[in-house]
């Protein structure tokens, strides 16, 4: 009787430990200030073109803010890839990279965001609104829906990161070495379509 009671108590303790371990394993790591986080992505088929809306939270580390205000342009890369799921190795179907340049225009103290792929440029009175605009991806045409074969399973993934190789040379070494100079998001994956 006594033995079975102890056994129950032990089992409870083990269960608790297991739960804690499970929580630690499952919970995504808390992102430090300065990392990029993809909050949500929605994809839809509009007239035969897969378009996505994405909400990305860009947070610049103090060193990057400092660099920005000292005239260093930051290039942010948004990488999207589409894979066909197979039982062995997934097949790449499409991938694209969207680059944005974020700069500070000191004459009128405005933040400038330029889409390097299209050349479209817009200005923002504060860094927050510039980053917000950068993070609000709307109606982004991803690919032709005809490329997705019916009956197949597809997965798309996206991540954003600071393009370290676009930093001025003296800063680049730091970019490769120090994490605070190289913010990036995790891969965010979702099924297509």
């Amino acid at each position: 009787m006594h033995t079975s009671h102890s056994w129950l108590r032990l089992r409870r303790v083990l269960l608790g430990l297991g739960l804690i371990a499970g929580l630690v394993g499952v919970t995504p790591p808390l992102h430090a200030d300065g990392d990029f986080v993809i909050n949500a992505i929605y994809s839809r088929n509009v007239d035969g073109v897969i378009r996505i809306d994405a909400d990305v939270r860009y947070n610049l580390t103090p060193v990057l803010r400092d660099a920005l205000h000292n005239g260093v342009d930051l290039v942010i890369e948004m990488e999207v890839r589409v894979e066909r799921v197979r039982w062995w190795v997934n097949e790449d179907v499409a991938s694209l990279v969207q680059r944005y340049r974020l700069g500070y225009y000191s004459l009128s103290r405005l933040y400038v965001v330029q889409n390097l792929n299209t050349g479209v440029q817009s200005t923002y009175p504060s860094l927050g609104s510039a980053l917000y605009a950068l993070g609000a991806v709307r109606d982004f045409p991803l690919m032709d829906a005809a490329l997705l074969l019916p009956g197949e399973e597809y997965r798309a993934g996206m991540r954003t990161r600071l393009a370290v190789d676009q930093l001025p040379l003296p800063l680049r070494v730091r970019g490769y070495v120090a994490r605070e100079w190289r913010p990036e998001s995790e891969w965010y994956e979702w099924p297509l379509p």
């Binding site: 004459l107 405005l110 440029q121 009175p125 504060s126 040379l169 800063l171």
Partner: protein, 736 residues
């Protein structure tokens, strides 16, 4: 693996390749550090590659260092010098390079710092401020204009708006006018760009600002260059319930002013950026410089290892060669390298070893020659029938030969190095010899001759000694060489020959008158007998009888003499000695004198070549002699034995007659075999003399000796016939 690494680490080609690679990459890197477009992208990779290559270099140097230290620990030749050279090279290269490095870093810091000037910075700030001020006026003017326009649009209907906007745009010379409703719904647009489909939306933040009742005016840069003024103002509501509208106006800025402002702004930003990256720039230059320093130092270290090894190689070989020479190995030849002083040294070393080797060979040759001569001399001495002794100046025995051993009856060789006086005390045979020659040895004469009489177990012997004193200059330095011959036999032979002559003459001279004497006496008896009376006749008969008897006796004696002196040619035939002995022994088996006859015959006896009749006589004489000797004591034992023996390459058979009689008197022992030497009361006194004669006729030797247990022993040695000789015959010469 380790060997490959070492070969790689010590080879000059991989090193040069590595060095060239590093040099190129450093050049590219220094170019890249200036933010050149060419190599800018490679910079980080170059940094990585260089670091790896430098690590490889470090490992190679580590291998070299380990190798050198290991050599030093093992005390290998030249390793210490190598280490010292390396240390010296490293110090020599490190000092100037470090100084250059230190000042270069300083110069880079100062040089880059000198790009930045407070006045330049101030001027740039001022220029920016000036631009702002000059543009501010324009902005304010535009703002006022747009506010006025907004007032005008207070009551406009959406249908009327496009027309009014177009009129207003032309009035204020705006490039675009847009009236927005709630949630940035476009109510009307007027633009000078007729292709425009969607107007430029204001940022959400501006919309928020407007909602809080603020106006927005901003100078925006254009992607294609130039500037644009954006003014966004709220349109006053027509009534409290109507929607909040806003008016956005975009004005182009005069191209010239726009370019100027852009230029000021660009210069300012470039300057700010440069100032900002100053520290990282210095760092990257320093890194490049440090890599150059490291490369130089490491290469210098490696060169130190390499060159010291190259330099030390001949010295190490020389050291090893010297060690080999010290160990007596003269055949070592060192490879001759270049023609410098070290090469000269190596050549001299090779010459030296060659000369040493030839000198050693020469010494070897003469030593061998000496050895040969010594061996030859020894062989000569050994085969010399004369005894030879050499003494040094202190009369210490230095050398002897086998003949000397035989003459003295013991092995002198074991006593070499001892004074002769010392040896003589222990050996009786030598004592007499020493005493006899001592006066000559201590005398002044350079050479001398002396006859020495020795007494030994086998009787007296006569030696003829000749001595020579060696000169002080010779190797022996005042020593003596003594040569002596045993002439006993020679003297004996001379005596025997004299006796033979005497016997022959006696026989001849005495035998002739004996017959007339006998005949005359018989005639006297015959003539006188009838005329004499009985008494006289008896006396005469007695006298005549005595004369005849004595003459007969004399005749017998003379016959014996003539037998001894006669030397008939012997008839040699191959015979079985053992069989002959057996035959003779049978005759005496029942001698009736109480003597037991025993035979001990060696079955492996070879045949001998001898005259059967003479040998039979010999055996008869010996056996008769032994029986006579034992007669006095009324019996005894006689052993006849044969033995096959080999002595110095010459094969002999030995026959011995051993009796248990009283033995031979000492005074007779040495001339027992001479005629008329006898211990007996009867007999001719020629028995043993004839035995000796027969033995010598057969080329053998005979001697007599007294046994320690009593009795005498007479030994005969006869040479053996060659193998494969004629078949043996029996005692009568019949073929078997």
């Amino acid at each position: 693996m380790a060997a490959t690494l070492r070969r790689f680490a010590t080879g000059v080609l991989p090193m040069l390749g590595l060095f060239a690679l590093l040099l190129v990459s450093l050049y590219v890197m220094s170019d890249a550090a200036q933010d050149s477009e060419r190599f800018g992208r490679l910079y980080v990779w170059l940094l990585l590659i260089n670091t790896i290559v430098l690590m490889v270099l470090t490992v190679m140097i580590g291998v070299n260092l380990f190798d050198t230290v290991r050599r030093v620990m093992h005390r290998e030749a030249g390793s210490r010098l190598t280490l010292r050279l390396v240390v010296m090279f490293v110090i020599l290269s490190l000092a100037p390079v470090s100084i250059v490095y230190y000042f270069s870093v300083k110069f880079i810091e100062r040089g880059i710092d000198s790009w930045f000037d407070v006045r330049v910075e101030g001027a740039l700030n001022d220029a920016l401020e000036l631009s702002r001020t000059s543009l501010d006026y324009r902005l304010r003017r535009h703002l006022k204009q747009v506010e006025t326009l907004a007032q005008e649009l207070r009551y406009v209907t959406p249908q009327m708006a496009p027309h009014l906007l177009g009129e207003q745009r032309q009035r204020v010379e705006a490039s675009e006018l847009t009236l927005f409703g709630e949630i940035t719904r476009i109510i009307a647009v007027s633009s000078d760009d007729t292709t425009l489909v969607v107007p430029q939306f204001p940022a959400e933040e501006i919309v928020l600002m407007l909602k809080q009742g603020q106006n927005y005016v901003g100078l925006e840069p254009l992607a294609e260059g130039g500037l644009r003024v954006r003014v966004v103002v709220p349109v006053p509501r027509a009534d409290p319930i109507s929607e909040q509208r806003m008016l956005q106006a975009l004005f182009g800025v005069d191209q010239r002013i726009g370019r100027l402002a852009d230029s000021v702004s660009d210069a300012y930003e470039a300057y700010r950026e440069l100032a900002y990256v100053r520290k990282p720039l210095i760092q990257s230059y320093t890194i490049t410089l440090s890599l150059v320093l490291l490369l130089s130092v490491l290469f210098a270290v490696w060169t130190a290892f390499y060159s010291s090894r190259r330099l030390m190689a001949p010295i190490r070989e020389l050291a090893e060669g010297t060690k080999a020479v010290a160990a007596g190995e003269f055949s070592k030849k060192l490879p001759v390298g270049n023609r410098d002083e070290l090469g000269f040294l190596v050549r001299s070393f090779n010459q030296m070893t060659a000369r040493l080797a030839s000198a050693r060979d020469e010494a070897d040759r003469s030593r061998k020659q000496l050895e040969r001569q010594r061996t030859y001399l020894e062989a000569v001495l050994r085969h010399l029938s004369s005894g030879v002794l050499t003494l040094d100046r202190n009369l210490v025995l230095r050398m002897n030969n086998a003949a000397a051993d035989q003459i003295f009856g013991f092995e002198l060789e074991h006593h070499i190095g001892r004074p002769l006086a010392d040896i003589a005390r222990h050996f009786k045979s030598l004592e007499r010899f020493y005493d006899s020659i001592l006066p000559m040895l201590s005398g002044e004469a350079a050479d001398w001759e002396e006859q020495v009489l020795l007494f030994g177990e086998a009787g007296s012997r006569t030696l003829i000694c000749r001595g020579v004193r060696l000169s002080e200059q010779s190797a022996m330095r005042g020593g003596h060489v003594i040569v002596f011959d045993d002439v006993t036999e020679l003297i004996r032979a001379q005596r025997d020959a004299a006796w033979g002559e005497v016997a022959r003459r006696l026989a001849h001279e005495i035998k002739n008158p004996l017959t007339p004497i006998q005949l005359s006496a018989e005639r006297l008896q015959r003539k006188l007998m009838p005329e004499l009376d009985e008494q006289d006749a008896r006396m005469l008969a007695r006298s005549i009888h005595t004369i005849v008897q004595q003459v007969e006796a004399m005749k017998a004696m003379v016959n014996a003499f003539s037998d001894y002196a006669r030397a008939p040619a012997i008839e040699l035939a191959t015979l079985d000695f053992n069989a002959l002995i057996g035959e003779v022994a049978e005759l005496y088996r029942s001698n009736g004198r109480g003597v037991r006859l025993q035979l001990d015959l060696d079955a492996s006896m070879p045949y001998i070549e001898a005259d059967v009749g003479r040998l039979r006589q010999l055996l008869n004489n010996l056996v008769q002699n032994a029986l006579d000797a034992m007669e006095a004591q009324g019996g005894g034992e006689l052993l006849l034995s044969t033995r096959c023996m080999e002595e110095t390459g010459c094969r002999f058979v030995e026959f011995a007659a051993t009796d248990s009689g009283p033995g031979v008197r000492q005074d007779l022992l040495h001339n027992l075999f001479e005629p008329y030497v006898t211990g007996k009361t009867k007999g001719t006194g020629l028995g043993l003399a004839i035995v000796k004669k027969i033995v010598e006729e057969h080329g053998g030797i005979v001697w007599a000796e007294n046994r320690l247990t009593g009795g005498a022993r007479i030994v005969i040695r006869l040479p053996v016939v060659r193998m494969g000789g004629a078949p043996p015959t029996d005692a009568e010469g019949r073929e078997l």
